[in-house]
Amino acid sequence: MSESGIGAAVKRREDFRFLKGIGTYTDDINQPGQAYVYFLRSPLAHGTLSALDTAAAKASPGVLAVYTGDDMAEMAGLPCGWLVTGKDEKPMVEPKHPILAHKKVRHVGDPVVAVIAETLEQAKDAAEKIDLAIDELPAVVDMRKALAGGVSVHDEAPDNMCFDWELGDKAAVDAAFASAHHVTKLDLVNNRLIPNAMEPRAAIGAYDLATEEHTLYTTSQNPHVIRLLMGAFVLGIPEHKLRVVAPDVGGGFGSKIYHYAEEAFVTWASKQVGRPVKWVAERTESFTTDAHGRDHISHVEMAFDANGKALALKVDTMANMGAYLSTFAPCIPTWLHGTLLAGQYATPAIHCNVKAVFTTTTPVDAYRGAGRPEATFLLERIMSKAAAEMGMDQAELRRQNFIQPDQFPYQTPVAVVYDTGDYEASLNKALELASYAGFADRKAAAKSRGKLRGIGVASYIEACGIAPSSLVGSLGARAGLYEAATVRVNPTGSVSVYTGSHSHGQGHDTTFAQVVADKLGLPLEQIDIVHGDTAKVPFGMGTYGSRSLAVGGTALVNALNKVIDKGRRIAAHLLEAAEGDIEFADGTYTVKGTDKQKTFGEVALTAYVPHQYPIEEIEPGLEETAFYDPKNFTYPAGTYICEVEIDPTTGQTEIVQFVAADDFGNIVNPMIVEGQVHGGLVQGIGQAMLEHAVYDDGGQLLTGSYMDYCMPRADDVPSFQVATTCTPCTHNPLGVKGCGEAGAIGAPPAVINAVCDALAEYGVDHMDMPATPEKVWRAINNAATPMAAE
């Protein structure tokens, strides 16, 4: 392994600009003549617009224009990128999602009026002069009540059901339950979360009258996807007249995948007012308009034989869609959730039913993990609950149900085929690092100090590297999910890579350059990674679902191989040898078995200065593009162990140890991978212990700021022990699986399993997240006396 190639913990190249404060985030960009838009948003969850008078606002100082839903009523709404088909081939209900609310508002934060002015202050002042009357309708917040009907969020869905979907063999599951020795049942909630990337969303629309070109600067994880969705489906702007730039982006976690109303608005409005139009979300706007995550209510049952072998699993889930369908919302609780319910286990029969529900809340879509955390939480909770009920060790129950290494490729009962894995290896590593065997002593020691100690195991699997286009197309995706890369070798031998993947914290500038350095034998200084601009990058589906390296990295490798192959032909000519006799290694083409050589730089120069060159056979230049469509998902997996200590007098829960053992396949940069795990773990711990987006019955978001929504802070979380095991992915050339979401997937059940283990003596066998001190304290105090009192 070289110092800069694949496998090296290279320090990040992007850090310098961020550390110096000279990065370029969207809000750092200002256009000459820029105006500002302020959105007046609905303060109510549900209602009919009965009066809307903007005359005074239009006359307010500095105001350039004021727009309402009436002005945009003829335009298409924001599109949904995934059509889920439910039982009986019934397609999902897909109501229009207008850019500005028209006639009705459906969640707090729904944009109603857009005021464009010379300054933001003038726009805000003018917005205060708008006379807006809303006839309030009852809010629809609770999914159970929503499905009971009475109040409809959309006329098209009287019972608020978006779709009723199922996966798996119900008859086989029922038969297995009928013969089961033990059945464990569990009702649980996967709490609604708000992604909270630290950079609020922002967008600048700029129309150039001379070229008739629209430019949108936006905080996006996938600028080409925005160009496609907004250009083709909303505004009717052809791709060659629409440039989307996603510059430095301050975190995404899913929330910056989607096409949002503000992006379409500023792009459209810039042409209307003849000025660039800028919008930057205030944090409360982020809370009410960034797509939220999770929000499932599930009933789960799992059947076991007398030896603890899992026989069947059945899951009934209600998934909150919010008021409108966000870009990928329907696929999250279905194809990214139901398909992962086998977990790491050889459970032979699985059935899953998901009812997706409209409510008068902010739309819900993918948030770090997206469906997989929900699947993992319910599966790993019920495994630990079952172990406790059957008097088995929670780690051993898992071990004896694992899919074995010789069973791969493994067809699960829920559609997907796992390519490879070794689940016992990561379990064993986690048990060893956590000194699992010594837990009983630690628990006893804690008890002597008046503390309750618990340990929780969670073995997760996820599907990353989304995904083969033909497969996702058959499941309802309205896009392909390949990735593109162009490798441009410059005349003097430096390399510019144009990738459709997008980095918003993942460090692609470093890891992608490592892949190039490794393949071409070049120093990192000669490699540039360009992303985030549709005018520079040929195409791209972007970064989400831990897909960048598995899909974008493979496109890059394929483009590099094309470059190497063309270089080989040029080298063969220069060295007067047969192409088949030319070897390429460490940046040098060599005639096999001789010392005749040409460096990569010499070959590149020849390609651009083709004086002595077989011009009839080989085109000049050295630039190649590859589009790669993945052959399967990748399946990272691992085991997490959390150990907590609870103070029974206060309910305060401290994580005293957290161990993560992950199998991500091959790793390009272990430093970056560890960082991804740490970040995911804290988001998972945040879900388990701190975070919860709460609406009251009237549809008001009670947790609409950092004063109310509990973000994990440095003193809320521990340091971590992280380790990896490795079974390389079998179907991409790098053997990589993806690591971005694992922490957020595996941590919540590990934490709650630990809390429940600690509280077992009080008869607590489940606790919904977040396990706040109050909830823990109440659980302790609601139990009459410890079940296992001394």
Partner: protein, 160 residues
């Protein structure tokens, strides 16, 4: 609009500001120092931390007029040109940043911590950072970075 005069990153600045202009908006919009970020509107996230007269403040919670006559240092003024301050260098060394958005505030906060407490424990570091939210790193490597910086800076101080 009244004028204010202050020193920003070692340079004297005199500018007219509206009385309700926040220091962070003054730095970003009027001086073009966009390294100081705005991540919330409730003085919680700490992305806007700068130093005023050597102490860390949240620039979203200080009026520009309150900075009249003070010395303000932003992330751009922490080290000249291509150099990195030891805290910046340690953040790179320990992979203490990912998306980079919270980083300027995090670094400015950490620099202030090490001024007042050159050898903080992990618990002291975590407690100090309560006012700076990071969504990417899980804090693990930020804590490590500050420990590395503390170590490097105290070794350097001892050598001098």
């Amino acid at each position: 609009m009244p004028d204010i005069s202050l020193e920003v990153n070692g340079k004297q600045v005199t500018e007219a500001v509206a009385p309700n202009t926040l220091l962070v908006d003054f730095l970003r919009a009027q001086l073009g120092l966009t390294g100081t970020h705005v991540g919330c509107d409730t003085s919680q996230c700490g992305a806007c931390v700068v130093h005023m007269n050597g102490k860390s403040v949240k620039a979203c919670t200080v009026f520009a007029m309150q900075a009249d006559g003070t010395e303000v240092q932003t992330i751009e003024g922490l080290a000249p040109g291509a150099e990195l301050h030891p805290v910046q260098a340690a953040f790179k060394e320990a992979h203490g940043l990912q998306c980079g958005f919270c980083t300027p505030g995090m670094v400015m906060s950490a620099v202030d911590l090490l001024k007042t407490n050159p050898n903080p424990t992990e618990a002291e570091i975590r407690s100090w950072l309560k006012g700076n939210i990071c969504r990417c790193t899980g804090y693990h490597n930020i804590v490590k970075a500050i420990q590395i910086a503390a170590n490097n800076m105290s070794q350097k101080a001892a050598a001098e």
